[in-house]
Symmetry: C2
């Protein structure tokens, strides 16, 4: 049984603070900008063509001729789906008739691209109808359906309009026919539909959704040779993927037997999210245990300090334990979003701050770093060290770009960031009948379905006082105290509460008019890594609250490589700088800077001078031109 | 004009010491072992089949049917060539009738595989005669000829027998016809024949050799689109190489315009070797200047401390400046051999210890590390850090093996090490009419063509006293004082010489019965790297003489990652240990060892304990099972 569940999308309205600024940016800039991109109206970026693909698919279905056919990746449809999902969440935060009309029009276009039998995918509809369902490994048909199901759920929840929901229920019925009624043993190469089906099930109660999700989860890996057999049955491929590389697709063994997080990182965490959701839904102990193991595999051995996962660009994948290079990191933005989804579902299985800690780490560092502060450029890959001249250029560093591009051929990340930020409330707050949960600190107003209403006020993550004012209701309020906060205090109506922590949460009985004030530790701190991580031996990182800081050349005379922080050196929090990097707080660290040497190697120890190094939050890096960046610093 | 030139192969006989032990190992173990491999008689290693390829090619030429055809890489022939070259050098050191008979038999087989027109290559002769000379980019026909020319020269010099020399002169005549008389604008995708033709020219004076070498060097890069055009003319490929990747083949521009060492590292240094040889031969100032630039590009920005070059496995290639990762290093053994060849030719252009210093660095570290101490296993790739569990397994570390395999599908390195060690005298000593040059310290007897004869006695590189006894003659003796030797002394007949250095060489007038004793600095020392190398900031390495040391788990409680050396800590040279690692000297370093932490990241600074870390010479690593290894250590 779910210990608690995410709140409804419309239950949270951000107020005045960090989350609100980001959600407004999504509404004002990102959603319009991305729509322009989807309509191919932005110059000097990769072409999208996704809306034209849907229009053309509709034409093909009506027997009309199309000139420009299909363009893009086989999963191009999902860009539109994720944009609708982001727009839907944003509409529930900030009603906007024009945007709603735009979405309605796009939904009409999508509905017209659905075949009579419920099939919906522009790639196959335009290019070759006969290839449907022949290539689950590479084909992404189920993946695209999954994203469109998520869009349908979001738009239904935001507006009550069910046109897209009906389209997707019909699509699910079709998929149910194909996979449940025709002895098709296939399962998606890229998991996604499983978590989407669970969402749709929670929203509609439609039993086919649950059955189909359960089926796809259970059949995965049962026959590790499935994709090889599938490949032998057809004479075509999309990009020549290797059907024997089952780790890549998490299909080497049944999911309940899996212990290591392997393969394509986004696929992995999307799968684990669905597994965790299903485990709590049907109370499947074995599945729960598998989720626990996979969670630990990530958190204890395969995750960057920034919440980035999937350390290798080869297959956008998890590497082996402790292989966490800073400079050649992949750490895809989408993978950290998926990690947040997984963490959020793990919190439904078991209320423990470790899940919320990681969710917060991934959000404030990798997910936010995925987007330029102006909302118009995006990182797909999130290294922890960048050296111009090597990053983006050296053969092993081609994927590690020193600045954000405007769009990508494979454009999964940008709309994913938009939908995540717009739905932040769902990750921040949860509830069950008795209790309202504050997993993350998100300013604004929350109306829990259990009857509690509260307002949260805070300038977190740059201030560490969080005030909850209870507007109405009479419930338990559970507030997470983050693992990084070495000290904290809770004041209830001005009186100190001595209430202890249960798995990192403080539980308070609250009622209307109560005021709960949480004060966390706002001191900056160093982080150290296990010496099992070869690249991190003797390195230290600077953090404050949930924010990982980084050192950029622009603040440090163009050279952070020569800087070593003093091990017990003072960290000083500077004044807020509203005009720099969108309202941030810098940190300075006592350090030494090595004098330059002219040769590659030398026998004379380079001299060192005292230096004050300046750090900025990691998520703000690369907003001031191309320059060096380092998270993990040398120490002495 | 050449300032000096390598001595003849038969001018040097190793005596009693390090070089002799290695040359004996090559004779006693490596050459017989490798011959067994070439004959496919060694189990559990990659198949070679190279001798059968030659036999089969002969049969094809005689119109006989062959059953097992061709097996191996397109350049498989070169394995036999390099083995003959190694055997030839070894024969001149250690006469051996049985070995000589074996070589003679193999030469007969090779001669039988030559076509009437002089063409010699088993791949095309067996597989498809019509494909000859159509694919210079991938085809390796000129490369294989080059190695066989080197073999012919070595065997002729060692034994006076000219059968293989005649075969190859005929082959050169054929190549001359194809490339000089038929308006073929091609040039080898893999340089090698250029340096071989220069060798053959020095030995035979045959003008076609010089003309052809000059032609291949001059035409390279003149038309950067040559390989694209070539590819369009045929409908086949060997491994789908990209003809537009001209950097890979050093053909983006004419060689005289090149400034950065780029592309496949072995190709690069083989080319530069020939360029330097030609530059001194024909006194080509522009070519000399280009060689200088390319040398500096390698030495100042693209070379490991171990003399390894070509830092990336992607294309076995040079990366950009300062991209010198320890753990994902490629640093192919052959590339360091090629660097020695280049350095040796640069020394002919200009007598400067920088060339000999690098030659020595490459030899004592990367080249020797390329072979197991027992002579039966070989490294192709030479990382500076290995962590079991990551090395050889992580997607980005697949090429960095933690132990040496017995053979390779692409078996270029093992016989290359054998030929290099057996011809060490040529790199160690040089001469011109007036002067005998001691570039490297090699114990044994040397008979210079200029009339000087001397005996060198030393236990270098583990002892730092080198004695030269003049047996006969009356010439200048030039001895290099290595750059790493912070102090040195020269005694002539027991009297201290105050003679200064000219470009790192001391020049002494010597005559029969003179005894010159050189004492170098035998203190171990730390090396520091430029902070432009991201992976080496705040790291230090331990060296002694020409030897780079490394820290292996087996000497350090299984864990070198937790060790940080004290910056000004004492380095202590241990007693000689004859029974360990083939007679070596260990070094201990004052250090601190971090206490283990259980989590991936922690907010508490891990405690540290005093520790004495033990280092062994890098070339001996991975001779005691799989364990951690690190050259560049953290410092504090």
């Amino acid at each position: 049984m779910k210990q608690q569940r995410q709140i409804r999308q419309d239950a949270y309205k951000s107020g005045h603070g960090f989350i609100n600024r980001y959600q407004k940016l999504i509404k004002d800039v990102v959603i319009p900008y991305q729509y322009e991109v989807l309509c191919d109206k932005v110059e000097n970026t990769e072409k999208s063509h996704v809306i034209l693909n849907f229009i053309n698919a509709g034409k093909v279905l009506r027997g009309e001729t199309v000139e420009d056919g299909f363009y893009g990746m086989v999963f191009q449809d999902s860009d539109a789906a994720k944009w609708i999902e982001a727009a839907a969440y944003s509409l529930s935060l900030f009603p906007d008739e024009t945007l709603e009309e735009t979405v309605d029009t796009l939904i009409d276009i999508i509905a017209n691209a659905q075949d009579k039998d419920g099939y919906l995918n522009t790639y196959y509809t335009i290019k070759d109808k006969d290839k449907r369902w022949q290539n689950l490994m590479e084909g992404h048909e189920l993946y695209c359906s999954g994203h469109m199901i998520e869009a349908a759920c979001a738009y239904y929840e935001a507006t009550g309009k069910d046109k897209l929901m009906q389209v997707m229920l019909k699509n699910v019925k079709h998929i149910y026919q194909v996979f449940m009624m025709q002895e098709n043993e296939g399962f998606p190469g890229h998991p996604e539909i499983e978590l989407a089906l669970m969402k749709m099930y929670h929203m509609t109660g439609e039993p086919h959704c649950l059955q189909l999700a359960e089926h796809f989860i259970n059949i995965r890996g049962k026959d590790p040779k499935f994709y090889e057999k599938e490949a032998k049955k057809r004479n075509w491929t999309i990009w020549g993927a290797d059907p024997t590389n089952t780790d890549y697709m998490q299909s080497s063994m049944p999911v309940r037997e899996q212990s290591d997080a392997v393969g394509h990182a986004v696929r992995a965490v999307y799968l684990y999210t669905a597994m965790a959701d299903l485990a709590s839904e049907i109370e499947d102990k074995e599945l729960h245990t598998a989720c626990d193991r996979l969670w630990k595999s990530i958190i204890n051995r395969r995750m960057y300090l920034t919440g980035g996962i999937g350390s290798t660009g080869i297959g956008e994948a998890f590497s082996v334990d402790y292989d966490l290079p800073n400079d050649t990191a992949y750490a895809e933005t989408c993978a950290s979003i998926g990690l947040m989804c997984f963490a959020s579902r793990m919190l439904e299985l078991s209320i423990d701050r470790q899940y919320a800690d990681i969710m917060e780490k991934a959000f404030y560092n990798t997910v936010l770093a995925g987007m330029q502060l102006d909302g118009k450029r995006f990182f797909y890959v999130n290294p922890l060290e960048v050296v111009p001249g090597i990053a983006g250029i050296a053969p092993t560093h081609r994927h590690d770009l020193p600045e954000r591009p405007g769009w990508y051929t494979c454009a999964c990340c940008p709309p994913n960031v938009a939908r995540l930020i717009s739905s932040f409330g769902k990750y921040a707050y949860g509830e069950n009948e008795d209790t309202a949960f504050c997993h993350l600190y998100a300013e604004g107003e929350v109306s829990f379905e259990n009857g509690l209403r509260l307002v949260c006020e805070t300038q977190y993550p740059y201030d560490f006082e969080v005030t909850y004012k209870i507007i109405s209701g009479n419930k338990k309020l559970a507030i997470r105290i983050p693992g990084w906060s070495k000290k904290y205090s809770i004041m209830v109506n001005g009186k100190k509460s001595e209430c202890g922590l249960i798995n990192g949460y403080v539980y308070l009985d609250v009622m209307s008019q109560d005021v709960v004030k949480v004060t966390l530790d706002g001191n900056p701190y160093f982080v150290y890594a296990s010496s099992k991580v070869p690249q991190l031996t003797e390195k230290i990182a600077v953090c404050r609250g949930p924010l990982v800081y980084c050192f950029e050349g622009i603040d440090n005379e163009g050279d952070v490589l020569s800087i070593a922080l003093k091990k017990q050196g003072k960290l000083e929090v500077k004044k807020w700088e509203e005009k720099i990097l969108g309202n941030i707080v810098k940190i300075t660290a006592e350090a030494m800077k090595a004098q330059k040497i002219e040769t590659l190697y030398t026998l004379e120890m380079p001299g060192k001078d005292n230096y004050t190094a300046v750090a900025v939050p990691y998520y703000t890096w690369a907003n001031r031109g191309i320059n060096q960046m380092r998270v993990w610093m040398n120490s002495l």
